[in-house]
Amino acid sequence: MFAYVVRRVAIGVVLLFVMSFVTFLMFFSGPDPAKFTCGKNCTPELIEQNRKALGYDKPWPVAWANFVTGIFTGRDYPNDPELKQTHPELIARCDAPCLGYSHLVNATVWSTMKQKIPVSASLALAAFVMWIIMGVAAGVIAALRKGSLVDRGIVGVALIFYAFPTFFIGLFLYQYVSLKWGWTPVPAYTPLKDSPGLWLQGLLLPGLTLALFYAAGYVRLTRTFVLESLSEDYLRTARAKGLAPGRVLVKHTMRAALTPIVTIAGVDLAGLLGGAIITETVFNYDGLGKLAFNSILDLPMTVGIVMLLSAFVIAANIVVDCLYAVIDPRVKVA
C-alpha cells in the first residue's frame, strides 16, 4: 500500500510538471504575452517594462524553466543582480513557492491567491455536502421506486436543474429568495473563525446554487449505479441468506453502488476548490473564481490559478485512487 501511494504521488508530480509545461506552451507561444500583464490601461512603455521585469523577453522554454525553479527557490522580479545592488527598492522579491508576480495588483500571485482559497474552499465544501446529500438520496429513492411517479418526478426535476445555467439559478436565488422575499439574509462571506454561524448562513445560497447543478447530475449517476447493483446476483444471495431488507440495501446494495460515486465526487470537489467563477461573481464572493474572472488580462495570475487548479485536481485524483484501493478489494495495490 505504501509503495502504491508513493508511486501515485510520484506520477502526480510528473503530471504537474507536464501541466506547467503545457500551460506555458499555451500562453507564451501565442502573441506577445507581455500585453496581458497590465490590464486595460496598457501603454507600450508599461508593456516593455513588464516584459523585462517578468522575464518575458526570454524565449518561453527559458521562462518556463525560471518559473519552475522559482516555485522551489523563489525569485526576484526583475532578475537583475546589478539593479539589486544599486536600487534594491525596485526589486520585487517573490518567495518560494513563487507562482509569479502580478504588476496589476502589485503583489505576488501566491500571496493574492492564498487569501482567496478559504472562500472558494468554504463554498466548494458547502456545495459538496449539499449536493451529495440531495443527489445521492434522491438518486437512491428514484432507483428504489423505479418507474413510479416519484422516480419520474425526481429525474424530471433533476433534468431541469441540470439544464438551467448556473447564473440563472444563482441570480434567481439572490434576487428573489434573498432580496425580494427576504427568506434568507443577503449572502456575504464571513470567515469561519470569525463566526461559524454567519459563515454557514452566508454559504447557504451560493452553496445551493452550485449544489443544485451538481446534484442533478448525481441523481442520475446514483440512480444508474443503484439499479445496476440491484440486479446483481449477490443481492439475491443476500436475500436468500435471510437478511433483513434494510441490511440488504445498506450493506450490500449501497456499498457496491456508492463506491464509484466516491471517485467522481472527489474529482468534482477538487475542480470546485479552484473556484466557481460564475457563482462567486454572482454572489460577489471574493474567491479564486472571481479572481480568475478579474485576472483575464493578468497573465501571471492566470497562470498561477491554472497551476493551482491542476494541483488540486491531481491531488484529488491521488487521494481518490488511494481511497479506492482501500474500499474496493479488487484494486491491485502491489
Binding site: D233, Y234, R239, A240, K241, L243, A244, R255, P329
Partner: protein, 371 residues
Amino acid sequence: MTAETISVSSAREGSEGPLLSVRDLSVHFPTEDGLVKAVDGMSFDLAAGKTLGIVGESGSGKSVTSQAILGLHRGTRAQVTGEILLRGDDLLLLPDEELRALRGREIAMVFQDPLSALHPYYSVGNQIMEAYRVHHHASKAVARTRTIDMLDRVGIPNPAKRVDQYPHEFSGGMRQRAMIAMALINDPGLLIADEPTTALDVTVQAQILDLMKDLQREFGSAIILITHDLGVVARMADDVMVMYGGKAVEKGTILDVFYRPKHPYTMGLLKSMPRLDAVRRAALDPIPGNPPSLINLPTGCAFHPRCPYRTDVPGDRCRAEVPELYRVGHGQEARCFLTASDRTRLEFLGAGRVESLDDSAFRPHESGEPA
C-alpha cells in the same frame, strides 16, 4: 387440485410426512406481452435427506420454482399461487418476517455462478459469518471459528488464511465450495442447488458434486438439484422431475426415468445426451424444434409440436386436450396420452423409435460385428 391430501396437523407432528411438499404451485409474471406462465401447476414431495433432481431446458421453470420456495418473488409483480409446505407450514402464507427467519436457516441455496453470487467488496469469511450471525446470536469470534471450520469441511485448504480473502482471490471451484459452506453453516433441512456446477470446469464439477453428496450424508439435508445436465442428476439424485414449458412432464425414481422413460420428451433428452458406452450411434439425436414460448404455449400438450408420437394418439388428442400426470408405473408419472399398450406396440413396431437408454447401451454387440 388434487393437493389437499396431507393435513397440516399430522405432517407437523410426525417425521413420517415429507419435509417439503409443493402442491399445485404456479408462478405467473404479468408482462406487457402477456402473462408468462413460468411455472404452472407443479406438485412434488421431498423427504428429509433425499435428493430431487429437477431437469429441463432453459425457460422450463426450474429456477423460478426454486426462487418461489425461498419466497424471493415477494414484493415483485410475480403471482405465486398454490402451496409450499415445509414440515406442514405453508411458506406462501407466512409473514415476511417469519419466512426470512427460515431463509438461510431451514432452506439454503447455492447459485449457479459463484463469482457473481458473492459480493465482490466483502471477504468470503465476512459473507459466510453474516449468514450465520443473522440467525444466531453469536459473537464475531464464535462465528469466525465456525466459518473457518465450515471452510475446512468443504475442503478449502488453509481456511484460517482463506477466510479473510476476497472472492476474486478464489478459484471457481473454491468459490463454489465457499458458497456451499455458506449454505450449510446453519445446517439447513433443505438445500436448493440451482445449476451448482454449470459455471465450473468439468474437472471441478465432479469434485463439487462429490462434496455435496458427502455433506448431505453428514448434515442430513434434503437437496433440490436444479440442472439441465442429466449426468449431474444421474450422479446425485434419488428422484427426478422433468419439466417442460412450466409443467412437470415426468416424475419418478432415477432408475425408472433414466432406464424406462415414459414421456417422449424425456426419451428425447436421453437420446440427445452423448454417451461413451454407445458405440453404435455416432451422431447425437437432438429434439427437433425449440422450447415453447411461455406466453403462448401450444394448445393441448405443450410438447406436441415437437413430439414424434403425436400421430400415434388417436383423434388429435395431443393438440386438443392438456394431458394430466398419469401413473405409468410404481411411483412414476408421465404427462402423456400414450398408454402402456401403445408404448409396447410402438417399441415393437417402431424398430427403435422408442428406444430407451438401456436398449442402446446393450445393443452394440448385435450390430458391432463386422460384415
